[in-house]
């Protein structure tokens, strides 16, 4: 367990994605344990999120009665759903990423992409879980349901932006490393080291053009994918709702299909300031 946390720490510190670590043009960090730590962190944040229901049931507003058992169920549901949310979002977005990554001729292997995504999710979960105490504090001190919804959306947005920024940064570093490594092998195998270096200097500008084309394509794919990931994640959270549990509605594992995430965010802003 401690080893896994150390691995996550290495990702967060950037040790795993420093240039020497990426020297081979692929990502070699061990991610098996990190997955488990990331799930653990997601569960922690889920508990923080679902805590609102328990706190509201324990200290109900006058005239409102909430079943304590339902509140605990809500907390449990949130703790299960939060890791699920990220897994499902990845599941939905990964196939197209894989296909387009291969189509544009990116040199990043599928395994490396998968590892990179695990690292990205781990970064997101670490940030999200670290914001958990603030969410609990507001759960305790506020009775406003729309406020809690918007607060959680804001927290998830912060975590999402940082995770996706981590992904794009690492990719651009990979591209940099690959630029430096990938071209001269044919020459450097036969010729001496210095000659190879000189050749690299000479040839890189010409090759650079071609190479940076494929890199640009690959990075465009990832940039678009980042946007898709954010949209899918937001809508997935809507499909999996309730995470917080409206105090006016009975507990359900899932709500019926209606509207979408973005409409509800706008409506919540209205509710917060209006009524």
């Amino acid at each position: 367990m401690w080893k896994w946390i150390k691995q996550l720490d290495g990702i967060l510190r950037g040790d795993a994605t420093r240039l020497p670590a990426l020297r081979e043009g692929r990502i070699d960090m061990p991610v098996g344990g990190v997955v488990i730590v990331a799930i653990g962190l997601a569960v922690i944040y889920g508990l923080c999120m679902g805590g609102f229901a328990v706190i509201r049931a324990a200290w109900p507003e006058p005239g409102v009665t909430v079943e304590m058992a339902d509140a605990y169920k809500q907390m449990l549901a949130s703790a299960v759903k939060l890791p699920l949310l990220f897994c499902l979002t990845l599941l939905v977005t990964f196939p197209s990423l894989y296909v387009f990554n291969a189509l544009v001729g990116s040199r990043l292997s599928t395994l490396s992409v998968a590892r990179l995504l695990v690292a990205m999710i781990a970064v997101m979960m670490a940030v999200l879980a670290s914001l958990g105490p603030i969410v609990v504090f507001f759960s305790v001190s506020t009775t406003s349901y729309p406020f809690m919804k918007l607060l959680n959306v804001a927290m998830a947005t912060i975590a999402g932006i940082l995770g996706l920024a981590f992904l794009l940064r690492t990719l651009s570093r990979l591209a940099m490393v690959q630029d430096a490594i990938d071209f001269p092998p044919s020459e450097s195998v036969t010729e001496g080291e210095d000659k190879a270096k000189a050749d690299e200097q000479k040839t890189s500008s010409a090759l650079d053009q071609i190479d940076s084309n494929t890199n640009q394509n690959a990075s465009a794919v990832f940039k678009i994918w980042v946007l898709v990931f954010a949209l899918v994640g937001a809508q997935m959270s809507w499909v999996l709702r309730p995470f917080i549990g409206s105090p006016d509605l009975p507990f359900e594992w899932f709500r019926s299909r209606e509207k979408n995430f973005f409409i509800d965010v706008i409506r919540s802003i209205g509710e917060l300031f209006g009524a």
Binding site: D9, R13, V127, P133, I134, V140, S141, T142, T143, G274
Partner: protein, 220 residues
């Protein structure tokens, strides 16, 4: 006397408060300053209704509590963000800069305490007392921010990312602190309401209340 010299060191942003020296001594100094000076200003704040010792005691407890609780809640996310921005090795120095700034804030507040007392004596209204304290906290926060910049200057020189982190800290801290101050009310104590540690009514949310008040004023 030596203790007061340490307070002077805080106000002058001496570098040893951030780097060097042992952590334990630093912690003792900063916590003591925060407790003593925070409680002092709190006591003055709570003296609005004259000799209501309970309110004075509660307010004296609440000011250090407000600062400490806000600090503790903001810390985890600040830690993770620092790590992500590659500033983990400086984390101890960052924390020392931030906590020392909090101690400095309480010292600034205490220097305003005579004004607060004079205000209480000369103007009666509860609302104006609230506004005056808000103003004092506002000015003290601005002064403390100047202190924080000075503590952070060497850090920013070593890595410009520290500048971003300083602003992120201020945003997180203010976001939590405003709500914390709201739920820890009353700090002053309405004269015609019996003294309680917390308000008896539902806590509510500072941001929702402020937004509603604003919209009401705008006639929505």
């Amino acid at each position: 006397m030596k203790g007061l010299l340490l307070v002077d060191d805080v106000l002058r942003a001496r570098p040893w408060l951030v780097r060097g020296g042992d952590h334990v001594r630093w912690l003792l100094i900063v916590v003591t300053i925060m407790l003593v000076f925070g409680a002092l200003y709190g006591a003055v704040m709570g003296s609005y209704s004259g000799a209501r010792y309970q309110q004075i005691l509660y307010s004296a407890l609440k000011v250090p509590l407000l600062l400490a609780a806000t600090f503790a809640l903001s810390l985890p996310s600040f830690f993770v963000l620092n790590t992500l921005f590659g500033l983990r090795d400086d984390f101890a120095a960052s924390i020392r800069a931030l906590a020392t700034t909090q101690a400095g804030l309480t010292v600034v507040l205490v220097s305003f305490a005579p004004f607060t007392a004079l205000w209480y004596v000369s103007f009666g209204g509860y609302d104006s007392a609230k506004m005056f304290n808000l103003l004092m906290f506002g000015i003290a926060s601005i002064a403390a921010q100047g202190l924080l910049r000075r503590f952070y200057r060497p850090l920013i020189q070593s890595n410009p990312h520290h500048r971003i982190m300083m602003w992120i800290w201020l945003v997180i801290y203010a976001f939590v602190g405003i709500q914390m101050a709201w739920i820890l009310r009353p700090f002053i104590g309405q004269p015609d309401v019996p003294t309680t540690f917390f308000r008896t009514e539902a806590w509510g949310n500072a941001y929702v209340e402020v937004a509603r008040t604003l919209l009401r004023l705008l006639g929505w």
